[in-house]
């Protein structure tokens, strides 16, 4: 049930990422690489998130934000970003080399 909810929201999110969020995406992603490694390619215990499917990244972030996926810190982080930013940063990260 919850899954469907996320998928529905996500469909809308990926379709309608406003231009502003897209322009911002590289800088938003810079906030992630402090933990996810240079180029978002991973660092020690923190997984790489570069070059993955955009939908997979966005789904993960939406689930963290909704509290449907547990983590040590990503729930608190995901709550700081809008739907549009999540979609834009996911698309940007997906375009990076793994």
């Amino acid at each position: 049930m919850l899954r469907t909810g996320v998928a529905l929201v996500l469909g809308g999110v990926l379709a309608g990422a406003p231009e502003m969020a897209a322009a911002q995406a590289p800088l938003v992603a810079e906030g992630c690489i402090g933990c996810h490694g240079p180029g978002a390619r991973g660092s020690g215990s923190v997984a790489g998130i570069a070059g993955r499917d955009a939908r997979e990244i966005a789904t993960a972030l939406m689930a963290f934000r909704a509290g449907e996926r547990t983590g040590t810190i990503m729930n608190r982080i995901a709550k700081g970003y809008t739907d549009a930013e999540i979609a834009a940063v996911a698309a940007y990260l997906a375009g990076l080399r793994r």
């Binding site: 800088l27 402090g34 490694g37 020690g44 215990s45 923190v46 040590t72 810190i73 700081g80 930013e85």
Partner: protein
Amino acid sequence: MSNALTRRTLLAAAAAAPLAAPLPLRAQGSARLVVVGGGFGGASAASFARRAYPWLTVTLVEPLTRFVTCPYGNLVLGGERRMEQITHSYDGLRARGVTVVHDRAAAVDPAARTVRLAGGQTLAYDRLILAPGIALRWGGIEGYDETASARMPHAWVPGDGTQTRTLRRMLEEMPDGGVVGMAIPANPFRCPPGPYERISMIAHYLKRQKPRSKILALDAKEGFSKQPLFQEGWAALYGGMIEWVPASRDGKVVKVDPAAMVLETEFGTKHRVAVANVIPPQRAADIAAPFADASGWVQVDPTTFEARTAPGVHVVGDANNGAPMPKSGYVANSTAKQAVASAAALLRGERPPEPVYFNTCYSHVGEEYGISVVNIFRVGPQGIAEVPDSGGISPRGNLPDQRRLEALHADAWYSSITRDMFG
């Protein structure tokens, strides 16, 4: 400050940019970015500028040939890291195409757009990133000056690492049963959770090596960052080893006597200690001081980080008044990138990007015991503000998996951010 006004100022600045000095440079397709200070703000700025805006020529001015990080310095004190593991070279930045000049900036002339170096050289810039960090207010605590800091180290500005090494040596030489005294300043200061991570790491060392010893933490405040989490961890790991004294219970150190190893508090109590770590009040480093206000910190535009009194001079890191953002390495890194993006946009006559600032401070409380705080900030009508219902501190309670994983992720963070800066 009104946001509408900021926008207008920025738009005006953006519109005016093509008329300003950068025009001929733009025609050649390049512009000169000078960065003063090669720490969390400056190294992040220089690295990011080369990576994201290869048309910028970047010169970094930093007197030290090797940078010792404050972060993880507390783990050195706790015996969990060696100094070499928190020391970084500038070779990575050179390999990125940054011209690294090992000298000290002596003066900035915002009108002429030049920086004069102590060695005599003058550097011209189109945009300046100023990230010199903090200066300690010698005399802010009576009797605490540079000489006193050899016997009562602060270990709050690492420089070449001597301060951290000295404090570590003193802890090693202290007999079991000794009292380690700490003086902790009022807000704002560099790294709000830093003193409490330090208490934790010193306790971690003492518990194993000198279990009859005590830590007396004298604080000029009533409360501190991640307090419930720290206190929960201290109770669980260190029993009665740590005594934290807030200002209202006479915790504020106002005077020191290094010869007698005495810390004296506001109401006249004299504490004789075996080892003293005095973290004095702070202000913006000297090179930024001409742009600071009476508070000692530099007021900046919340989007471009240009000093209010010096357009073209972007002040990032601990030297600015970034409240409500903490003076942290992560904030220095995050705001440095926004400042560089703004500088690049203004040089091209474009509008600076809409910022989102990010902060995480991990702290080690003990072995396999990490905690964190997250903040995300945006610029609103009242200036910089935290995004409502976001971020916050780690959950409380007996959560061994959470603590163990956060200690691991903290290590991942350190490796990640230092490679982002220096790699």
